[in-house]
Symmetry: C2
């Protein structure tokens, strides 16, 4: 160990003297000959290393610009080369135990942390994934985000969050995604096909969450909404419901459209009357307003209302019970989609289709990680089925 230190110190001395020699011998035109060694020497002396009479940016540190601790500082202090320091922080590298111990000790003393930005620049891997989400207030998405985050963190990747409010300039937002050199993207947001093709053109691995494209094969994790909606209708119809109404999601929600479509299809197949459909916005208020609208237009309550998500169903149930004094499920059945936490609360105990959020998020993370490792894998869709929850807001016999 002490022998080792001696050798290291010798190496350092060599480095410094080489620099000094270089500095003296170098001709004005060959400005940049010994560069990395100069870096070490500069840190060693703490002095400005003037080249062509110019002060380097680094030396500005003395004038108050906060400078972070770098691997050069650690190398200096330990009397070894900078590359040795770098190697010690790389998992599979070949470093002697004594070297590693020394470096780790000095690094701790100096409070050194490797700079991920610098690493990314050379490795071309940022270990960053962008997660695009339309609105976090949806109640369904925080769960997705949370799960995605955990999954990525477990795999050593960080999540760069992009929320896309309705008013926002999506193009500008997406541009930011490129700038940050993310390794991949999970998109759980309302994106136009153009935006999606942009991902392809840039060759950035991406996975769509709960949405696909009609005319293009893309990587996606989805839950079969049509199947779910059909199950819902089948069960309600089997229990004798005849007149249906739908409070749909907004038109720009693919998931919402599919839920409506599946319900309509199945109703037609069963020879039941086409449902009255009012558009909602996925929030509590839409559910309430939707119900009022339906009752007004129908002149009475339908047998069953299929809501585009749980929160609207909850709004619908509350309005029926507390405002219109319509007993649910005795006079009116209400069903939702998603299986969010509040749907299980005793006051509601909603009949709904639970999405396997955790599995889906896990699948999305896995898929993206795989795609990053093997970018040329053929597109894959992982389709999950929703689970029917027979709650207490529907008369299922």
């Amino acid at each position: 160990m002490s022998a080792f230190r001696k050798i290291s110190q010798a190496a350092l001395a060599k480095t410094i003297s080489a620099k000094k020699a270089g500095a003296k011998l170098v001709a004005p035109l060959q400005k940049s000959a010994p560069r990395n060694q100069a870096k070490i020497a500069a840190r060693a002396t703490g002095n400005a290393s003037r080249e062509g009479g110019r002060e380097s940016a680094r030396d500005g540190a003395r004038e108050g610009i906060k400078r972070q601790v770098t691997s050069y500082d650690v190398a200096m202090q330990a009397g070894i080369s900078q590359s040795a320091v770098s190697r010690c922080f790389k998992p599979g590298a070949s470093v002697s135990p004594s070297m590693r111990a020394l470096v780790m000790k000095v690094a701790r003393e100096l409070n050194y942390t490797p700079n991920a930005i610098a690493r990314s620049l050379i490795t071309r891997r940022s270990n960053l994934v962008a997660v695009l989400i339309s609105n976090l207030t949806n109640l369904y998405y925080p769960e997705v985000l949370s799960e995605l985050c955990q999954q990525f963190e477990k795999r050593g990747m960080r999540v760069l969050l992009f929320t896309l409010p309705h008013e926002a300039d999506v193009d500008k937002m997406i541009a930011q995604v490129w700038e940050y050199q993310v390794d991949g993207v999970v998109a759980a947001a309302r994106l136009s096909p153009q935006h999606v093709s942009e991902f392809e053109r840039r060759q950035i691995p991406f996975v769509l969450y709960n949405r696909t494209l009609q005319d293009k094969a893309v990587n996606a994790v989805i839950c079969d909404q049509i199947e779910g909606a059909r199950i819902l209708v089948s069960r309600l119809a089997a229990a004798g419901h005849k007149r249906f109404a739908i409070i749909s999601g907004p038109t720009d929600s693919v998931v919402g459209q599919e839920r409506t479509k599946g319900a309509r299809e199945r109703l037609a197949e069963l020879g039941l009357a086409a449902p009255i459909v009012v558009e909602g916005n996925y929030d509590y208020h839409s559910g309430a307003a939707g119900l009022r609208d339906i009752v007004r237009r129908l002149g009475r309550a339908p047998d069953a209302i299929i809501c585009g998500n749980d929160v609207m169903a909850i709004g619908c149930v509350d309005t029926a019970r507390h405002e219109l004094k319509l007993a649910v499920p005795e006079k009116l059945s209400v069903v939702g989609f998603d299986g969010v936490e509040p749907s299980r609360w005793l006051s509601y105990n909603l009949t709904t289709l639970r999405q396997p959020v955790q599995m889906m998020a896990q699948a999305a993370a896995e898929m993206l990680i795989g795609l990053i490792a093997k970018p040329d894998s053929p597109p894959e869709k992982r389709v999950f089925s929703a689970q029917f929850i027979e709650g207490g807001t529907s008369a299922l016999g």
Copy 2:
């Protein structure tokens, strides 16, 4: 315009010939003389520029390693210098209109996007802020996160999300925060004072959300929980409630502890009996379990139960009404904290203290931005008051 092009082309030609000359004249030992020019030339020819018989990493691109479009490519194509390209993407830079137009045109053609990673390395500003959140499933936090995200995006900063699940290794997680050279941190998570001092030691601007430190002045945005709890107790006591119980937040939640403390203090001041306190976990189930526990230990229901947050209050109300057949508010008053969206649903209409989340998040973002611009500002606390919502779960006379 055409004259301009001619000049530019001339500049390029000069560059390339200079490179060729250099390559021929350079002695083996002076490997690194003309570097940037070599870069341009390498891109121009698409050929390997061997130095000392070694192939540079860049040339590996031809063998399938995806290489991104850089400012050099744009410079090449436009026949101008790379620095000119860089300047065109810097807001206040001095560039002629014709130059800017040309660069933008070529950049669009080549699909060029500046690399934020490289920029960060030299500017020492990543435009990244870390947001630390304990658990997103809390229902209260998604709102905070969403608001923070919007605020930062508005100011050109991106959010790097860190979720800290209970089991997670917080130290390792925090280490990641340093690696990514974030410009600042918003911490809305359970952090030990040691972790917070780590922020200080590293001189990273940070703002605590809804928590402070006892023995250290830190930047924080908080809501006065003690004041809120006192208001709640005062109102309930004024309406004749005598026997109180508390379903508290978990012991490691500062906010929860303060709510409990404020309530206890005020009860003591009013000469009322000390409340029975059971610990909850901020979830629906804790509220239900807490109520059962209280009733069992008391042998009857208390007059009022103060819950550490709305979700527990909701669990409490549901269990009272549907399981124990205890009329709320007739037989039992239940109050919560936060004012989350479900607290306003008709089935609950909770009496609660609403936190001005939006204002608080906005304040936190503002504060952090200010701190990043002026790191030596003295610590500041911005304290908001909660708003009392007189809902229907308490008999307030």
